[in-house]
């Protein structure tokens, strides 16, 4: 909560230190002075800055970010329409990241110093040093154009009827509409941008899972369990996986911020009709109301995701649960 409040101030300050008059920019060079003045008043631009912030925050809390300075459309309306697509992409990437990272890391730790481990390690290293948009371009080239396994752009194929919008998440909507063909189509459209977006976090997750697992493997409790004759499979699944998940889950939560940022670039590459493309356009046009709304929405996503991550870590780690109970 505190973070969101600070973020709102930060965004507001950024949006008001722009050189130039936003009202003049909105109506254009040739508008008369009266029109500009009227707009200035309706935007509260003549009030002192803290008062402006008050107006802005009141609007933002009600979900009203004002009109776009460029298209004159309602910003909240636009965001509501486009946000689900970005959210879907981000969540999908988050799932791939977490599951893939844990799976690869576990595999790597299990075959420590064998070829499987080495392959995973090289892969993870490349994943960390390659920006997601590079993955996007390379995937697009290989799977979209050369092999033509996956559709290159958009959320659905032309010949598939879009389901009625309920949540805006295409996967959920197609399921609700009971349309498995559309679901499959939405899924393969999501696969390439989602995976490209997930690569960095996936690589990080795999490295971390491997490291913690190898660390835990050397601990006394594992030796004791082995000594008791508990089968290795059970030790791995029940006693090693769970404690090793905790750092991975936390880091995936943290890197989710970067993921949402990178969604900007991938939406451009894959022509994904989400909020980020809208945001980039707003940024290139200096559409302040739209920019601040987009950034605040992303901040909100980050905060919500991290609350979920904290809950997940609490569920995984009995020590944290105990501390929380004691402090209550």
């Amino acid at each position: 909560m505190f973070v969101l409040f600070g973020l709102s101030i930060l965004i507001f300050v950024i949006s008001r230190i722009v050189p130039g008059d936003p009202a003049r920019m909105a109506v254009g060079e040739r508008a008369s002075e009266e029109v500009v003045q009227a707009l200035r008043e309706s935007m509260h631009l003549d009030d002192p800055v803290p008062v402006q912030y008050g107006y802005w925050l009141r609007g933002a809390l009600r979900g009203d970010f004002g009109q776009s300075l460029v298209t004159r459309r309602d910003v909240s309306e636009d965001i509501r329409r486009m946000f689900p697509a970005t959210l879907e992409l981000g969540l999908f990437a988050g799932v791939i990241m977490t599951l893939g990272g844990i799976a690869l890391g576990t595999l790597s730790a299990h075959y420590k110093d064998k070829w499987v481990d080495n392959v995973v390690r090289v892969f993870a290293y490349l994943g960390v040093v390659t920006p997601p948009f590079v993955f996007g371009v390379i995937f697009l080239l290989i799977f979209g154009f050369w092999l033509q396994w996956l559709p290159a752009t958009g959320r659905l194929s032309q010949n598939v009827v879009a389901p009625p919008v309920v949540t805006g998440l295409m996967l959920v909507d197609t399921l609700l509409a009971g349309d498995p063909r559309a679901f499959g189509d939405a899924f393969i459209h999501l696969l390439m941008p989602g995976t490209a977006l997930a690569m960095a976090g996936l690589a990080q997750g795999a490295r971390l899972t491997r490291a913690t697992m190898c660390g835990n493997l050397g601990k006394d409790y594992v030796a004791a369990e082995l000594g008791l004759g508990i089968p290795e499979r059970i030790i791995w699944w029940r006693f090693l996986l769970k404690p090793s998940l905790i750092p991975t889950v936390s880091i995936v939560g943290l890197s989710f911020a970067a993921t949402m940022g990178n969604a900007f670039l991938l939406e451009l590459i894959f022509q994904w009709p989400g909020m980020s493309r809208y945001g980039v356009n707003a940024m290139l046009n200096k559409d302040l109301n739209a920019i601040s709304a987009v950034v605040l929405m992303l901040g909100l996503v980050f905060v919500v995701v991290n609350i979920c991550v904290d809950l997940a870590v609490g569920a995984l780690d009995p020590r944290i649960r105990l501390i929380a109970q004691r402090s209550e």
């Binding site: 600070g6 920006p131 970067a258 900007f264 920019i291 950034v295 992303l298 980050f302």
Partner: protein, 307 residues
């Protein structure tokens, strides 16, 4: 005879200096030995050196230096890679290899300048917050840091870069604004634990001031992790810079930027794949170099600590 004693003292000082110098050389040799045992770190080191040389010597090593600017040669436009144009040519006939080499310049300059500003600021704030652990100064600095860390770095940089004019300087400003908190976090963590070490306590008991303790007692122990992070961050600043220039914020045409080249090139996929792929690979190679180097430094420091 005062002159004689002075003379002796001078010789002593010279001997000590020489000894110190020899020690330092020996230390450096030992460090290099530790560093060079990991072949990958050495590879990273050489990649970084090569990249820096290429960037500095760009006008002399690029096959077609004039292609880095507003140059048009429609006769040779859109050629696939060949011995004459190793990376092919773009849609108006410019040599992609030359442009990639020139694009290394803004990328490296950006990394250097951003770090040159971010490191002192972030480190100083971290030291202060760590030293005044538990006071209001600590609380204020660290809460502000939290806010900056919570915003997606790229988004914040995008927002800042977009309200300013799109050019390299403003992109650097944007990246600088969102990068310092990580150093504050790092140094805060180190500093707040060092704060209770015996050597800090004893300096405090001897009446040393806050500034003395912060800079002379705590800071020297933090350099290792800071250097390591700087090497890794060169790579990440490069990525952020390329990402910003990918959406059109950053070095403006006709000057080449790695991100811009990838994004322009991606419009000509799949026929003219070389336009996007080579600049993209260049980004990966440079970042990989800095990362390998950083990891090598980290291992070296860990080894020194261990023995």
């Amino acid at each position: 005879m005062p002159a004689a004693t002075e003379f002796v003292a001078e010789i002593d000082a010279a001997v000590v200096r020489r000894h110190e110098w020899a020690n330092r050389v020996q230390n450096m040799r030992r460090s290099w030995y530790k560093f060079s045992r990991n072949k990958l770190s050495v590879l990273g080191f050489f990649v970084v050196v090569l990249v820096i040389l290429l960037a500095v010597l760009a006008p002399w090593v690029a096959p077609y230096p004039q292609h880095a600017g507003p140059f048009v040669d429609f006769k040779n436009a859109s050629q696939s890679p060949s011995p004459a144009h190793l990376f092919g040519t773009d849609t108006i006939g410019r040599d992609v290899l030359s442009r990639v080499i020139f694009a290394l310049r803004p990328a490296l300059i950006m990394g250097l300048i951003v770090l040159a500003i971010v490191v002192p600021v972030g480190v100083l704030l971290g030291l202060v917050a760590g030293y005044f652990l538990g006071t209001w100064l600590d609380a204020v600095i660290m809460r502000i840091t939290d806010i900056f860390i919570a915003v997606p770095a790229l988004v914040l940089a995008l927002a800042i870069a977009s309200v300013l004019k799109p050019n390299l300087t403003n992109t650097m400003i944007a990246v600088t604004v969102m990068w310092w908190p990580w150093y504050t976090r790092l140094v805060y963590g180190l500093g707040s634990s060092l704060r209770n070490e015996d050597f800090v306590k004893s300096a405090e008991l001897e009446g040393a001031g806050a500034a003395y303790i912060i800079f002379r007692e705590i800071l020297p122990s933090c350099w290792g992790p800071i250097f390591t992070k700087m090497s890794l961050d060169m790579g990440y600043v490069l990525i952020i810079g390329a990402s910003l220039s990918f959406v059109g914020l950053g070095e403006q045409a006709p000057k080449p930027g790695l991100g811009t080249m990838v994004s322009d090139g991606s419009n000509y996929l799949p026929e003219q794949w070389w336009l996007a792929v080579f600049p993209a690979l260049a980004i990966v190679v440079v970042v990989l170099g800095f990362n390998l180097l950083g990891d090598g430094l980290q291992d070296m420091l860990a080894a020194e600590k261990g023995g």
